[in-house]
């Protein structure tokens, strides 16, 4: 869409809070339409969580390359980047919003896009898995890190691991830790990482313990089948109930194979917890939940805050393409909003 040149554009300023995939694509969309964009990122570099990943499902693009593309897209002179500068609050000011940040005068903007992203579930809250207690219990995020660092970080006492287990739904769909929703992306992450393990260690047994497999996205189910058929990853329906260390410092798992309706145990060299997504903290946060919307089906305008829109995972678990799309859509909603004000 191309706003008619007289209505909005040059004169308008938009603040984008958070420079993850959603924030970056929102910023680049707005910049392309001649807005002045203030892009705030509390970290010292752009990218958010994307910086922590190795490869992206389902097609396994390298995360850093995708990051590169996104960075190029915001390399425009009408995007002012405020790196390492967190936003404390936004307050209404003459028809727009005043963005109060870490240092100096608040910046006045006609509209605000909140793209503050999410936090990973803190696996230590699921004590029974012994994360933070046993050295060989790690999260999917740690695993991405190890994959970036290289194969040898995954060896056990210098040899290839004999077995690796993934636990799905850690910090998702679990009232015990007060998470009622599905984080959507852990299943496919588990599938992708299981494949990566098999590629690194073909002889290693890889188990995925799941409650339901939710391979909802394009190409996800195909990847699931590939993992089973081509890589021989074994998917066991049933949740790991507890983990403990055995004499060789391997992790001993207990679970119920609900399809065999028999309890099951197995020792593994790595227990990988597929941690879910929690709401991040943002200047507009009122409670510990994802940002809601006035019009959840058709847009993402924050309730009672005209001109403020959410983008990306701050409004709920999203994949990278979904975040990018929601970033762009937020940008166009900003334009609608400003047009309607004229």
């Amino acid at each position: 869409m191309n706003p008619d040149k007289q209505s909005v554009g040059k004169r308008n300023t938009v603040a984008v809070i958070g420079a993850g995939p959603a924030g970056l694509s929102a910023a680049s969309a707005l910049a392309a339409l001649d807005f002045e964009v203030h892009l705030f990122e509390k970290e010292s570099r752009e990218g958010g969580k994307l910086n922590q990943y190795h490869q992206l499902f389902p097609a396994r693009e390298s995360a850093s390359e995708v990051m590169g593309e996104l960075l190029i897209s915001v390399d425009k002179e009408n995007i002012i980047r405020h790196l390492g500068l967190g936003v404390n609050s936004i307050k209404p000011s003459d028809g727009g919003w005043a963005v109060h940040h870490g240092d100096g005068e608040p910046i006045r903007s006609d509209a605000v896009i909140v793209a503050t992203g999410f936090d990973f579930f803190d696996a230590r809250l699921k004590e029974e898995f012994g994360y933070g207690i046993y050295s060989r219990v790690i999260t999917s995020v740690d695993l991405e890190k190890k994959l970036n660092e290289g194969r040898e970080t995954l060896l056990h006492k210098g040899t290839d691991p004999a077995a690796i287990a993934f636990v799905h739904c850690v910090g998702s769909r679990d009232e015990q830790v007060g998470v009622s929703y599905c984080s959507r992306l852990c299943c496919i992450t588990g599938i992708k990482q299981a494949i990566e393990m098999k590629e690194l260690f073909p002889e290693t047994k890889v188990y995925n313990f799941y409650i339901d497999m939710r391979a909802f996205g394009t190409g996800y189910e195909e990847l699931y089948r590939k993992a089973q058929e081509q890589y021989g990853v074994r998917f066991i329906r049933g949740r790991v109930s507890e983990a403990s260390e055995d004499a060789e410092c391997r992790i001993r798992l207990k679970a119920e194979d609900t399809l065999m309706s028999r309890p099951l145990k197995v020792s593994v060299d790595w227990l990988v917890l597929l941690v879910g997504m929690r709401p991040g903290c943002s200047p507009v946060q009122t409670d510990q939940s994802f940002l809601g919307s006035d019009n959840p089906l058709t847009g993402n305008a924050l309730p009672g805050m005209p001109g403020v829109y959410s983008a990306g995972c701050c409004s709920g678990p999203m994949s990278i393409p979904e975040s990018v799309a929601s970033g762009r859509s937020a940008a166009f909603q900003v334009i609608d909003h400003l047009n309607s004000k004229q």
Binding site: R225, D257, L259, K265
Partner: protein, 111 residues
């Protein structure tokens, strides 16, 4: 088998994957790789003309190594191939059964 205190000690129902003998599984899935993609939907068992199929001939149980310690019910199979027509993953289940039986025999696990 009661002990001298007048009660018996139950065996553990637990599947111990560390001890599981997966020779049959390996041999057969080497021949029929599609087999590994079993979703355990149970469609094969449900369609089995052998009446008690669901319990007697649980194809989906094949994937569980523990099941290979002993496979009961295979002798009930008619090899009719209905299961193969309903398998959502298109696994040649009929051939799977033939192969499994052969290897069960080979490894002295035949029922």
């Amino acid at each position: 088998m009661k002990n001298r205190f007048g009660f018996e000690i139950q065996d553990n129902r637990q599947i111990d994957l560390d001890l599981a003998d997966d020779r049959v599984n390996d041999e057969v899935s080497a021949i029929i790789r599609a087999w590994r993609s079993c979703l355990k939907c149970g469609n094969c068992a449900a369609v089995c003309p052998e009446g008690e199929g669901v319990y007697k001939l649980d194809l989906s149980a094949f994937l569980d190594l523990s099941a290979f310690q002993k496979l009961t019910g295979l002798d009930k199979c008619y090899l009719c191939g209905k299961c193969q027509l309903v398998c959502p993953r298109g696994i040649p289940t009929r051939f799977v059964i033939m192969q499994v039986i052969n290897y069960m025999k080979e490894y002295g696990k035949a029922v």
